[in-house]
Symmetry: C2
Subunit: 682 residues, 2 copies
């Protein structure tokens, strides 16, 4: 009898293996809990009219909660900030309370996450978000390409969304995807989404597109997710309705007010506008002799009656300035205090452009009378696209450790999401979406805690898996820095697509600040960008104590060294080694670490389903080859200046410099090269 039972069990286990309920395509992200038979949640009658957000919370708990009954409560409670929640064990079960429906939903997701992570709740848990606005920026074009997107096409099916004859079919794949997108964001507290690229097409403001935006807004609303749009500053002209876009022109002001009114008629909780103006060819107020403040304020005035917000980007740099790193500060700092209260200046974390490592942008802290928000890049434009494993929480942690979270009004993350089954391309790229959401909720969270949360929910709670892979994740971004551009080097990427190395890049007629030699400045004497007081003086944009620290190579942190200094090849580093030797060792370490990641991952085979295991394995393989490519390209190129051997105890290049200089990947700025293409061209 016992043996018969055993064989039945074995048989069932085999069937389970042969017939998995759901393909492991990563589509469930960190939300993988299947039906708990005894899940129950009750909504007090007073709250029932506040559907559907609360109903979603109840449904989620009913479907997956395996613990005591949960009571959901919406209550005025001054101790709870908007969207905050309290989870309280009671005699008969658990109560989740909040002052807002979204807060209840966030509490429900948190409770389910604790269950997934097998973390027991001891006593009350009260949380509230650090920022009211936790927003994703999609750089999605209306043709469904995604600038710097490496996970398929844009989620937004504009052809269908703009079809006035179409009706929303909740069971369609597209609709389900929209819901799943909103749900995933809600589960980590993200409450805003800018649907379209900051290089914005004016078409988004036409009636047809706004109708489509309304349809998305209606789907997202129950999940607490508001929609925003990037707008083209010259829209009144581009749409053929006016002959100017001058922000002080009455017709222009009227046009925008009317447009805002039109939008809010469709979408009463529309969030507002994100604007890239007078930057990289985009139109803006300066085209009409006006300031950024005058431009932003005009839009803010149009949105103000509806409580809408303008997020105005500070990502500007003119082709003439001697140091691009100074430009945003020079243009924006003098405007401090001139913006309307519903304008937030959106500043990239660093002064250049989402490099693997940058010091923080000195604008932070320099505009005390202006709300600022940080723009972080979740998509890995400069970090190996969807091919490299790079967990970005440590990078953002670095930022928040220097820029006090309380000094910011909000945070935005440039999304890495597309139509790929697993949403983000690399299975581990979803960890960055997750980490962005978690840090936008609580910027004091540690990287390790976030990695652990994500791993436990996404792959399982076995410590034999979580411990090594969490360690791998925590090391991953620094490894990328090491094999790409250590010691403060920056922007030595290949032209256009920014995938591989091209430190020698020279495009005749190109803006100098679009070319790597502008940034690394390698010459027979040394390497690095002199931003000291006797150089470009970018250091002086920082607070005096920090300026002092950065200005002196002896006190400047070595990971920023070549960002702030041009130093001789034989400059003595803290290790006692020369700058050249140290540079070589960083590249070598990056390569070795990447190989180590392959080893660590391969050993995880018993803990991971075959599909995701193979996917990560294949991408780590690409990453290991890419790391060697980076090392060889950079060291062989810089060696032509340094004229010194790579230390002989280090592994040697396997590529020739001439060969590497011929590599030109035929990809655009919305494509990640696959293994076949890399093998062909690299």
């Amino acid at each position: 009898m016992r043996s018969m039972l055993r064989s039945l069990l074995t048989c069932a286990a085999s069937l389970l293996f042969l017939l998995p309920l759901k393909a492991e395509d990563g589509s469930r992200l960190w939300l993988r809990q299947e039906g708990g038979a005894n899940g129950s949640a009750t909504l007090p009658s007073a709250n029932r009219r506040l559907l559907p957000t609360l109903r979603i919370a109840a449904d989620e708990l009913r479907q997956a909660w395996r613990g005591a009954p949960v009571r959901l409560l919406l209550e005025k409670n001054d101790a709870l900030a908007p969207d905050g929640f309290r989870i309280r064990p009671t005699a008969s079960g658990v109560t989740i309370s909040s002052a807002t429906p979204a807060g209840v939903l966030y509490g429900a997701y948190r409770l389910l996450a604790l269950q997934a992570m097998e973390t027991s709740l001891t006593g009350e848990l009260t949380e509230s978000p650090a920022y009211d606005l936790r927003i994703l920026n999609h750089w999605d074009n209306l043709d469904r390409t995604v600038e710097r997107g490496y996970a398929g096409r844009s989620l937004w099916d504009w052809e269908e969304l703009t079809d006035s004859m179409a009706t929303d079919n909740p069971s369609s794949v597209t609709y389900q995807r929209y819901v799943a997108y909103a749900r995933a964001n809600a589960s980590i507290g993200i409450n805003g989404t800018v649907l379209n690229n900051v290089n914005a097409s004016p078409q988004i403001l036409t009636r047809a597109y706004l109708h489509g935006v309304k349809r998305l807004a209606d789907i997202f609303r129950p999940y607490g997710l508001r929609v925003y749009l990037s707008v083209n500053f010259a829209s009144p002209m581009a749409l053929g309705e006016l002959s100017t876009a001058d922000p002080l022109d009455e017709d222009v002001r009227h046009w925008w007010k009317a447009k805002a009114d039109e939008i809010y008629r469709l979408i009463p909780d529309f969030g507002g506008f994100l604007v890239k103006a007078n930057s990289e060819g985009q139109p803006g107020p300066c085209d009409f002799g006006r300031t950024h403040a005058e431009g932003a304020n005009m839009l803010a005035d149009a949105l103000a009656p509806h409580r809408g917000t303008v997020m105005w980007r500070a990502f500007v740099y003119s082709p003439t300035d001697a140091d691009r790193a100074k430009q945003a500060y020079l243009e924006f700092q003098p405007l401090d205090g001139q913006f309307r209260p519903n304008v937030i200046i959106q500043v990239k974390n660093g002064p250049i452009d989402f490099q693997p490592r940058e010091p923080y942008s000195p604008l932070f802290g320099a505009m005390p009378r202006t709300p600022l928000m940080a723009e972080l890049q979740v998509t890995q434009e400069y970090l190996g696209h969807a091919n490299h494993l790079a967990f970005l929480a440590p990078m953002w942690r670095e930022f928040f450790d220097l820029v006090p979270p309380a000094s910011l009004r909000a945070v935005a993350g440039v999304a890495n999401i597309g139509t790929d089954d697993n949403w983000c391309g690399h299975p581990f790229a979803a960890a960055n979406w997750y980490a962005f959401g978690r840090l936008a909720w609580n910027p004091a969270l540690g990287s390790e805690a976030i990695a652990n949360e994500w791993l436990r929910q996404t792959f399982g709670t076995d410590e034999a898996f979580v411990a090594p892979i969490s360690q791998l994740m925590l090391e991953s971004r620094e490894a990328v820095v090491d094999y790409m551009m250590p010691l403060g080097l920056h922007h030595i990427f290949a032209w256009g697509h920014h995938y591989g190395p091209e430190p020698w890049c020279d495009i005749p007629g190109a803006r100098p600040d679009w070319l790597p030699p502008y940034y690394h400045r390698a010459d027979s004497i040394g390497i690095g960008f002199d931003r000291t007081r006797t150089g470009s003086d970018a250091v002086s944009q920082y607070p005096p104590a920090l300026a002092e620290l950065y200005n002196d190579p002896a006190t400047c942190p070595e990971h920023y060294l070549l960002w702030f200094h041009h130093l001789p090849w034989n400059y003595a580093m803290k290790s006692g080694r020369t700058l050249w030797d140290e540079l070589c060792r960083h590249y070598d370490r990056g390569v070795r670490q990447t190989r180590g990641f392959q080893q660590t991952w391969d050993a995880m085979k018993p803990y991971v389903d075959p599909d995701r295991f193979a996917d990560v394995q294949a991408r780590l393989r690409i990453q290991a080859r890419d790391a060697t490519w980076w090392r060889d390209a950079c060291l062989l190129y810089f060696q032509t200046f340094a004229r010194q051997p790579i230390p002989y105890d280090l592994e040697r290049p396997i590529h020739g410099l001439d060969e590497l200089k011929q590599v030109q990947l035929p990809i655009g700025n919305h494509e990640c090269p696959d293994e076949e293409l890399l093998n062909k061209y690299r």
Copy 2:
């Protein structure tokens, strides 16, 4: 005054640096000594009529010798074998004596080599060659392609050589090259050369070509180098003169006698014929129902009156036999004693075909009544062509350690020489030409001694260079075995060109024994070719004690293990590890060693001229990438059978199996892929 002198010296040194007397293109091989002002050599009057060999010896010494005067003596001396020499320090200088002019020349070269190596002569030095015949086989086609040649085109300019109107111009580049070729061979004791491919064109026996052969023979003769030809067994038919090539046919026998007479009228010291018959599509006596012995003897009879030799190759394998490794033995061993005295059976060192490692061919020792000679492959058909550094003395040492040199009549080496400036493609490939000559002279020489000799003459005598690079050379062939086919694996090369890995190769309709799976036999149980008594029984072709040893996996040397055995993936090796793990570790070691070679070489920069340094550096770079290619291809492919992980402490693959299976290098059997082509296709 002193400072002026110093600056003059500095100036002179700079000039020397800027204007080297001779580009370091490797063309001087190991013969690099420049004019010693006080070189002197005298020829006793009795010897003067024996020019020009003795004159060459005298000239060489006059040009480069920097020691005491040398007296060259031709004397009957029973203590000295033909071509042997004695170098004897005397009160007034040094005397070199020999029974033959060539012996004097060999002595002169040896004396100069000692000088180049900075080895002092203490007392008498007497040497004589182990074999009368020390011969190179050129697989040169008449269109100047070289089968398995990776160093440019064939040296022999047949267009010019067959031009009856042309006159020999001793100052022409071609003529100088012929002289340099003969001189290089003489300097290491090689005294025969087969000019054309064993896949022989009948055209070589036409009047025009024989005239060209005579011109080469005349140039080579003073250097003691005799010419031989490969002949096509069907020549009488192919040249349109007879309707059969049956060796027992009187007309055929007469045709060959007449052809031999014609050749000897032109070249009185012509060496003889090399024959590939009934092998890989070549015609032979079996086509007419005759045996190899009948075919060889017919040719031997034609040559005998002129004291010519037939070298008849035992490289045969039928498409039907169950084990190709047994074929040569099965066909030739029964013919023992049936060959004329002037026939030598030429047997490849191993039973298959010049693999990175083979056990010796069991024919050696199995034909006691027949003269045998060993055919070694100097050109690296199966060892990475001209891209990989593989010093082959250790491979040949392994052969001679199992096959007593005294049991052989002669040795032949398949040449790696072409029109490249440096003769052999890879700067270190010349070491294999050198090593072959030295071992043909003295098969008891150690690999380390040969490496040291070659390095000291070719690059210089600084121990800081010689010691590490000699070590590198000694390890190099085993490294290739490790990353290509360790533990007795063999012939898993890519189709046709044999450059890269293709263990999965399957060409519809191809002979099974031309396909790798025939050799590795990987399956779900294990890997290897069962040649035990219960398998193909190839072991029984070896002497009983050895057969016993090889038949038992417990006693079979592990480096031959998969040659003789098909063993389970989990078979316990001597290390205690499984077969699969051990296999993985060998591949890994090969990769790491190759990277180590790069490191060792790079550190040698101060000791090597820039041209040769860069050339070797670039080829080691290719080799390191190729090693990874091999490792990944073989392990990923075998893993589909073994279904076990590569041990997790080992570096992981960076290629995908599907990707690797698509690699098809577009090269022929006479081409070495260059770095650009490899990067494009691999």
